[in-house]
């Protein structure tokens, strides 16, 4: 079962995209729900808020354990921030799961008036991909194990580390589900 972390943010749009790929999904707000899923989408939203809510919901510890155990995950925007190794321009009490060997800067492109959309050429997709960046994070460091699948102006915006995929943009805000499909295909053999 694929879960979508549903504390806040773009979770409903991600669930719609997963279902459009013909795959069932459930919303994850509690440790019990997390136990039922084999892989997790971590949506966009406000990463500082989500980090707090992970604490309020007593999800931080079980989610960290699942990630440490290798659960496949797809993080977008705030989701990518939560998966990173280190965060700049966050709140002092904000931490992350270090499930991806990347360092990110929150709102690295600026405020909402600087938010943009752009055509991406994505490794493994045959036609260009329209990507929507909302107060997006910038990836400032990449570990050796991290593969870059797409970039904008020399900044990586789509990266993978094994069965973990992360985007600084919002694939759930368009009707194009190719990235969701690609991730689901990649993890098909890994999850039950």
């Amino acid at each position: 079962m694929i879960g979508v972390l549903a504390l806040q943010g773009g979770f409903a749009a991600h669930a719609t995209a997963i279902r459009a790929c013909g795959v069932e999904t459930i919303e994850v707000r509690t440790p019990d729900q997390l136990e039922r899923v084999d892989a997790l989408v971590m949506p966009g939203g406000e990463s500082t808020t989500m980090w707090k809510l992970l604490g309020f919901q007593e999800l931080e510890r079980p989610l960290r354990a699942r990630l440490d155990a290798g659960m496949p995950v797809f993080g977008t925007c705030a989701g990518m921030i939560l998966l990173s190794a280190s965060i700049s321009d966050g709140r002092p009490d904000q931490s992350s799961f270090a499930a991806l060997d990347i360092d990110v800067r929150r709102n690295g492109y600026g405020r909402q008036v600087d938010s943009f959309e752009s055509d991406l050429v994505v490794e493994g997709l045959d036609a260009s991909y329209r990507a929507v960046f909302i107060r997006a994070p910038v990836i400032e460091r990449l570990g050796d194990a991290v593969e870059v699948l797409a970039s904008v102006d020399d900044h990586p915006v789509l990266v993978r580390q094994g069965v973990r995929l992360a985007a600084s943009f919002h694939p759930e805000l368009t009707d194009d589900v190719r990235l969701h499909q690609w991730w689901l295909d990649e993890i098909d053999g890994v999850i039950s």
Partner: protein, 299 residues
Amino acid sequence: MTESTAAESSIGTVRVKRGLAEMLKGGVIMDVVNAEQAKVAEDAGAVAVMALERVPADIRADGGVARMSDPAMIEGIQAAVTIPVMAKARIGHFVEAQILEALGVDYIDESEVLTPADETHHIDKFAFTVPFVCGATNLGEALRRISEGACMIRSKGEAGTGNVVEAVRHLRNILGDIRKITQADQAELFEWAKQLRAPLPLVQEIAETGKLQVPLFCAGGLATPADAALAMQLGAEAVFVGSGIFKSDDPAPRAKAIVEATTNYNDAQILAKVSRGLGAPMTGIGMDEINVAFADRGW
């Protein structure tokens, strides 16, 4: 390695502007009047703050003309938090909106809580890169605002009252009419557009999709965790809480409880847990006691 360049990029598109509203879903946007309150809101898990000089309860009590806040005060709040900062412009006051855009606020609320600057026209919101949220009491009003470029609608409720009754009325108006429109045939859609004083293509789109074109949030009179969960169960996608937090006895725990209630709006066990021992909510006033109905402003 493959590259995209800024030349293919565009800012301020409808998708980018509506996109930020998508990212606020399931969250609580809190009114704050200074940096200290903004930090309390962020600490409590607010997803954004609305920077304004006086909360609606005080605007209501003070009377007089309510205007855009002092830019210095808005900048102080922007410097204090990392979550999005919204600010209010008067209805039709596009220069206040230009100033707020220049300050780099993340969302502008063209708000009936401030004294309207134009009694006929709302701001042309397509002319801006920054996205706008507007209030609505019914579906026609919501669609007129969307046709002017609003990227988020909030049901108006009656701000500054601590009374949820108008918020419920407006949410039910909007969502009830959407439900009815999905059952209408083509001839009836023409009539719906006339009745709503709304563009026919937007009405036809709702008949097809069964939902508003932009995220629908709830505002105006929410004061308790149960109020927030009520709005969410009725179909709001996020909530604004204004006077309800900082006019209560103990704002920080109430703010956190309202955030938790919004996340867990369908779980009565958690709602019971977070509603305990919060101290007195804002006193609140009945609709027969108010002398100005903010919700009547907007055309």
